[in-house]
Symmetry: C2
Subunit: 527 residues, 2 copies
C-alpha cells in the first residue's frame, strides 16, 4: 500500500504570511500538536537566522516527539566556496535536527536574473551541499525551488538538478511550485514524468510536492502529485503562508486519509484534526475560518427542515462524511475539552479534586459559554478557574463594588482615558484612579494600585499580549467582543478570556481572571 | 475554440452561507457588477419565496443588462400533480426571467429516504416540468442535484435523468456535487463519460458543473469538469455558500482565462475581477480575504530583498502573472477609484467642481487614507465629503469643543453608558448629555439634541446599519478599528466611515460624516 508522509512547514514557510508571529515557546507547542496529529516531518526553520530561531532549536532538542522528526532548513552553499566553509551549512549540521532540508535552484531564469550563477556551478552547489550534510551524518531532503517553472522552461536541466541531489545522497527531492503558477493537470503530468525518470537510475528515490494557493488549487495540486507518485507532501496548518498561502495540510490530510483511502496517520489521530487546526489559529491570533474544509465551524452545518429530516433518516443524504472522523461536529461548537478526554482528567492534571457531578456541571458550563463565544483552547487559566469554582476550591481575590472608564476627546483633538475602580480586598475598601493609553491599560493600573497593597507579589505580573476579536453575530444576537489576555510572572505564563457586547467589560473579565489565577495556591498550577 | 459560460449563484446558493444577507436593492447592485464583469447567467433565486425575492425580480425586470441573463430558480413539479397545476412552476413561468433553472433529483438514496418518490415518477417529474417551462417560452437549465453521489451509486439512472431533461428541451444539464464529496479525478472521469454519452443522442446538449468546497477542491473540481468537456460553470463570488462554500467563481474565471487560455469574458473585463470581488464582500460586510487568489491584498505581495530585486530584473521570477491583468496591484492597496477612472469623473458625477490640482490632491489623500485602513467603496458619503473639502465646497455643520463617553459598571453588575458633547453651531454653544445602549448610540443622541435645534430636518436621519471590523495590524502599527455606518432619511441612503485605534473615535468620525453629508446642499447629492 502506498504510504504518504506529511511534511509541515508552518513554522518556516507559513510564518512568511502577513501578520504571522509566534514566540519560540509557542512554536514548541505547535510542534507538539503536530506530533500528536502524527505529522512525520516538522520543519522548524534555519537554526540561527535570529535569536528566536536559535532558542527554538535549543528548546526543541529537549522535547520527546513520538512521530515527528525535526527538519532544519537552509540553502545550498554559496558560490565560489567549499560547502564546509559555508557558515550557514555548518550551522545546519551543528543543529540537533536529524534531517536537513536544502533549497536550491532549478530554473534558468533565476540563475540568470537573480543569483547570477552558471548552470554548471549550480549543479556543483547542489552536489557539494548534499554531500557535506550527508558526510556529517544528516539525512537530506532537497527542495527544488520553482521546479514547475523550470520544467516548462527546460525539463532536462530541471531533471539534472534532481538527479544530482539524489546521486549525492538526498533521500527525497521535493518539487516546489514556488510562485503558485501551476494547475493540477500540469502538476500531475510533470510529477509522473519525474517519478518515472528518477526511478531509472535511483529506484529508491522519493519525490515530494510543495505547492501554493495562488490559483486556489493548492490542495488539488498536492493530491494530483500524490496520484502521480509523490510520497511526501509539504504544507502548512490551515494553509497559512505568503501571498495566497501554502497548500493546506489539514485539508490534504483529510482528503488523503478519508477520500483517497491512504493510511497516513490512522483513524485515531484523524480525530485530532479539528482541534489541531483551531489550536494553531488560536496561537496565531487568527480567526479560524468558519467555512474551512473538514474543520470549520460551518463545515457540517445544516439548514432547513429537509436537510435535518434527511440527516435523521440517513446522514449520507446531506453529509459527505461523518464529522466525528475529524473531531468536528454537526453544527456544534467545538471545545478542545471534548477532544482531549474528560473534564475529570483535566482537573486531575491541574491538581483539582472534582467529583463526577461537578465534572458534569463544568462540562455543561463550558458548552453553554462556548455558545456565547468563549473559547478555552488558549485560555488555560480561565478554564482552570472554572473547574476550581465547580470544585468549591476557589478563593476570590477581591470583590468589585464598581468601575468607571472615561474616554474624552478634548478641544485640541487629544484623546484621554482614565479609570476609577472601587473594590474590597480582605475587608478593606480601596478607591483608585489611573490614566492609561487605553481603557484596559487604565483599568489594569487602577486595579494594581488597589491590590498590591495587600498582595505585593501580584505586581510582578505582566500582561504580555492582548488580542481582541469581533465575532460574527449569529442568531441575531448582535456582535460579540472576545478578549484574550496573556500574562506572565517571569516564570510561568497563562491565558485568560472575556466575552461581552461591551469591549470594556470583556477586557475587565480577562484582566481579573489573570490576577485571580495568579492568586490561587501555587501548588495547583498546571504549567 | 471552446467557450465556457459563467453562471453566478451568489444571490441564491451563496446566500445559504452563515450570516449572508443582502437587501433587494443590494442584490440589484450585485447583478449589475456581475454584468459589467461579463458573467453570462445570474441566478436571482425563486421569484416569490418571500417578499424580498418578489421585490428583487420586480426591480431586475427594469434593469438593462449587457452580458448577463437572469435565471429564476425552482424545483421540478411536486409529485402527483400536473406541472401546470404546480404553483411554484407557475410563479417561475410568470417571472420576466428568460431562463428557468430547475433542480431535481438523480440519486436513489434521496428518492428513497427524503422525497419518497419512485424512480419512474422522478423521471416524469423532470420531463413534465421541463416541458411545461419550454411550452411557456422559457429556456431551461436542469440542475442534477447530488449528481456525483448518484453516479457512484447507479450511473445508468443518473444518466437517464439527464437524458430525460434534455429530451424534454433543457439546453443544459448541470452536474451538481451538492454535498461536496468529490475529488477532481472523480469529477473528471464522470463528466467525460456524461459528455460522451449525452452526445450520442443529443449532439447539442451542453453540460455544466456546480461544485462545493468541502474538500477544498471546489475550484479544481470545476476546472477538471471543463477539461472533461463541461461548457458552463456555476459558482459564487468569493466562494460564499453554505458549509465550506461554493466553488469560487472569481478564482475559476482567473484560471480559465489566464491559465487555461479560454476566452470567457475577455482581457478588458478581467481587469474588473478584483473590484468586483471586493465590492460584493463590502455589501455583505465580510472582510475580503487578504490571501484570496488573484484578488487578495496579499496575492502579489512581496517580502525580502531578493524578491524585490528579482521582480525588478524580471517580474516572472517571483510572480505567476501580472497583477494588473486582474485589476490587482503589487502590494498596493486597491481603491474602487483607480478601477473606475479618474477622480474628476467622480466629482463631476457628484456635481462638484474640481480642478486638476485638487483632483490630484484628492487622489493622494485617498491613497494615504487607504494605507491607514480607510476603504471608500462602501462609504460613498465620506468620499464625496473628501472631494468637497479639496474643492473648497464644504460647509462644516458644527465645531466640536469636546466629547466624553463614560462606561460604568455598577455594584449590581449593571453597565451604563452616557455621553456628553460640547459643540458650536452657528455661533451658539451647546452642551448636551444622553444615555445610550452603547457608546455610539449615546454620542448620536447627544449630538442630535444639540443640532436639531437649528437644523430640525436632521432629526429624520436614521442610522440603519453599524459595522465594526478590527483590521489586522500591519507594519507593527497595532490593531485598527474601522467603523462603517449606513444612514437614511427615508428617501436616500448613504455610507460613511471612521478609522482609529479607538473604537469610540472611529464611530464618532463616521457619525459626524453621516450628518455632515445630509447637511450639504441637496443639489449635489449623487444618489
Amino acid at each position: 500500500m502506498t504510504t504518504v508522509k506529511l511534511y509541515d512547514t508552518t513554522l518556516r514557510d507559513g510564518m512568511q504570511g502577513q501578520g504571522m508571529s509566534l514566540s519560540a515557546a509557542e512554536k514548541v507547542r505547535v510542534v507538539k500538536a503536530l506530533d500528536r496529529l502524527g505529522v512525520h516531518y516538522v520543519e522548524a526553520g534555519f537554526p540561527a537566522s535570529n535569536p528566536k530561531e536559535a532558542e527554538l532549536f535549543e528548546l526543541l532538542s529537549t522535547v520527546d516527539l513520538e512521530t515527528a522528526e525535526v527538519c532544519a532548513f537552509g540553502m545550498t552553499r554559496r558560490r565560489g566556496i567549499a560547502a564546509s566553509e559555508d557558515d550557514a551549512l555548518r550551522t545546519l549540521i551543528n543543529s540537533f535536527a536529524p534531517v536537513v532540508t536544502l533549497v536550491g535552484k532549478t530554473w534558468g531564469l533565476h540563475l540568470e536574473k537573480v543569483t547570477k550563477v552558471s548552470r554548471e556551478e549550480n549543479l556543483d552547489m547542489i552536489v557539494d551541499s548534499v554531500n557535506f550534510c550527508r558526510s556529517e551524518g544528516k539525512r537530506v531532503i532537497y527542495d527544488a525551488e520553482h521546479f514547475f517553472d523550470a520544467w516548462r522552461d527546460d525539463s532536462a536541466y530541471a531533471l539534472a538538478c534532481l538527479n544530482a541531489a539524489i546521486a549525492a545522497g538526498a533521500e527525497n527531492v521535493t518539487l516546489c511550485d514556488t510562485n503558485g503558477a501551476s494547475l493540477p493537470h500540469e502538476i500531475a503530468s510533470a510529477t509522473a514524468t519525474v517519478v518515472d525518470e528518477l526511478a531509472k537510475a535511483h529506484p529508491d528515490a522519493a519525490v515530494g510536492i510543495h505547492t501554493h494557493n495562488d490559483a486556489e488549487c493548492g490542495v488539488a495540486n498536492s493530491l494530483a502529485a500524490v496520484d502521480a507518485g509523490a510520497t511526501l507532501v509539504q504544507g502548512t496548518v490551515n494553509g497559512h503562508g505568503e501571498r495566497c498561502g501554502n497548500a493546506n495540510l489539514i485539508s490534504i490530510l483529510g482528503n488523503l486519509e478519508l477520500k483517497m483511502g491512504l493510511d497516513v496517520v490512522g483513524p485515531e489521530r484523524m480525530r485530532l484534526l479539528t482541534e489541531t487546526s483551531h489550536f494553531v489559529d488560536e496561537l496565531l491570533n487568527v480567526n479560524p475560518d468558519p467555512d474551512q474544509a473538514y474543520v470549520g465551524r460551518n463545515a457540517f452545518a445544516h439548514k432547513g427542515g429537509m436537510h435535518v429530516a434527511g440527516i435523521q433518516a440517513d446522514a449520507r443524504t446531506f453529509e459527505h462524511l461523518d464529522p466525528g472522523l475529524v473531531g468536528n461536529g454537526r453544527d456544534v461548537l467545538i471545545s478542545e475539552l471534548s477532544g482531549k478526554g474528560s473534564v475529570l482528567s483535566e482537573a486531575e492534571a491541574a491538581g483539582i479534586d472534582l467529583d463526577a457531578d461537578a465534572a458534569k456541571r463544568a462540562l455543561e458550563h463550558v458548552k453553554e459559554r462556548e455558545h456565547r463565544g468563549y473559547q478555552y483552547e488558549a485560555a488555560d487559566a480561565s478554564f482552570e478557574l472554572l473547574l476550581r469554582r465547580e470544585a468549591g476550591q476557589y478563593s476570590p481575590l477581591f470583590r468589585l463594588e464598581s468601575f468607571r472608564v472615561i474616554t474624552e476627546k478634548r478641544a485640541d483633538g487629544h484623546i484621554e482615558t482614565e479609570a476609577t475602580i472601587k473594590i474590597w480586598v480582605d475587608g478593606h475598601r480601596y478607591v483608585r484612579t489611573a490614566e492609561g493609553n487605553g481603557p484596559v491599560n487604565a483599568l489594569d493600573k487602577a486595579l494594581r494600585l488597589a491590590i498590591t497593597d495587600l498582595h505585593p507579589h501580584l505586581s510582578d505580573i505582566e500582561l504580555t499580549d492582548y488580542k481582541v476579536r469581533i465575532l460574527d453575530s449569529h442568531d441575531g444576537t448582535g456582535a460579540i467582543t472576545r478578549v484574550l489576555l496573556d500574562s506572565s510572572d517571569g516564570h510561568d505564563s497563562w491565558g485568560t478570556i472575556g466575552v461581552s457586547e461591551n469591549i470594556i467589560e470583556a477586557s475587565w473579565e480577562a484582566l481579573v481572571e489573570s490576577l485571580e489565577y495568579a492568586f490561587q495556591p501555587a501548588a495547583v498550577r498546571s504549567d
